[in-house]
Symmetry: D2
């Protein structure tokens, strides 16, 4: 495994976070406009918002991975849940364990932050990622339905 | 379709909501403790909380269905999303269109409330419910991973 | 459950079998040409062929359901397997247990005929049928890939 | 891609085929008894049987991969179908394109042999293999049910 340090994203990480976010959006073939990206980054930096990001920094101090997560309430637990919405690692350092260390950091935060569950979703055929995710738990037997607002 | 009225849950709906919630938990074979149920109901009544419930009232004024939903932020949209977490209809009035009217109400709220998406999850083999859900949209190709906090 | 008799298809069942086959093809939205239907029926009647059909006859002697199956070898077992390829019941008598009695007949044949396994496939969202199939066994964790010959 | 030659399995391939078959069974965590393995190998060598195998031979004449397939009839087509039941490549030469060349050989045989379809199944979470299979076609939307004979 690469020696990386996982820490909360800070203002100075903006350029690195944006570069990883762009790679992530290309991977999912989504076009998220600049206004939304700006908004998301502002929410991440806003200490009062439930939108957070962590970054993985290598031994040379370069940010090579990131994860965005949302804390939200739920009806099945009194404690909130942590939704790992986005996870991305620089393709140049793939398979080096960086993604796993980002998830491990979130798992370790669960008791510290008082989260009842950590969850994430991925495309059924995102095989590379699922090889990693299966190390934590089997996929659960739920399917998702999404209705988008009309523009 | 039954003639039902969909409206926000209110304090006076507590007994009916709890009876439907119990049936729902039995269906999913989960044992959600009294303390969490109390907490969830309090959050639903708290106008400042992002936890909400709607009920379906029949022509005789009896509550025969309910849905709980959570509003939370997300990184792909500037507007929040609506997570329909729980949906349940009294088995005695099943197949009468009550579930559909509860979902329809949420769909209609999307532009009014400024939600970018409405989503829900269900067990892959919850065939009766999926027959209804497929009328809105096909299931999406995502799978979910859930890590629970150690107790 | 309806009182039905399950028996091997015979020459006199041709009209009834064809009517059910047409309904089945409509359900799956496939257009199987007349030449192939003729071929399949000939194979069913040919005692030397591994293509077979059974029919469900009601108390009035009317054929209200049918199933086609193929016996083929496999590499994991010395005994052949039975592939239940098609199953269809007259929509007018649905939910009366006819489909189940057709499958039950095949299950009962397994030791008599020396089949090592009985299997079938269905569309993931064929919820009505899956409610029945789940009574026999959970779906297995396999996915299928099909490459069609170029015409 | 490795330079390999795909050809029909012959009597002299027995030891190599058995070694690959054992690795394959270990991968799927199945215990297929010696009697069945002997039976399957005999069927492969029997020119009159619908059980066939091909092998991948490298430039040094060593067999490094194999595939077993079954030809069987079906009711939706007049021509038989080819069921690729087993595919395995020596782990030492993985990711070298050998699996793809075995499948390509079968695809090329379709018009020559008069097969209407080529199909195979794999475990939903066999991610390495599915990365290859998705190059041919998306998985189809069918799920499988298997009832085993009581022993």
């Amino acid at each position: 495994m690469s020696t990386v340090r996982i820490r909360n994203a800070e203002s100075r990480d903006e350029a690195a976070w944006r570069a990883l976010w762009e790679g992530y959006c290309r991977f999912y073939e989504v076009d998220i406009g600049a206004a939304i990206t700006d908004h998301t980054w502002r929410r991440i930096l806003d200490a009062a918002a439930p939108v957070h990001a962590i970054v993985a920094e290598n031994a040379q101090g370069r940010v090579i991975g990131m994860a965005n997560y949302i804390i939200h309430e739920n009806t099945w637990e009194a404690l909130p849940v942590c939704y790992l919405e986005d996870l991305y690692v620089d393709p140049a350092v793939r398979a080096g364990g960086v993604g796993q260390q980002l998830i491990d950091w979130l798992v370790a935060q669960m008791p510290l932050q008082g989260w009842s569950r950590l969850y994430w979703l991925t495309k059924e055929n995102n095989y590379r990622a699922r090889g990693l995710y299966d190390k934590y738990t089997p996929r659960d037997p739920f399917v998702r339905y999404v209705v988008k607002a009309k523009k």
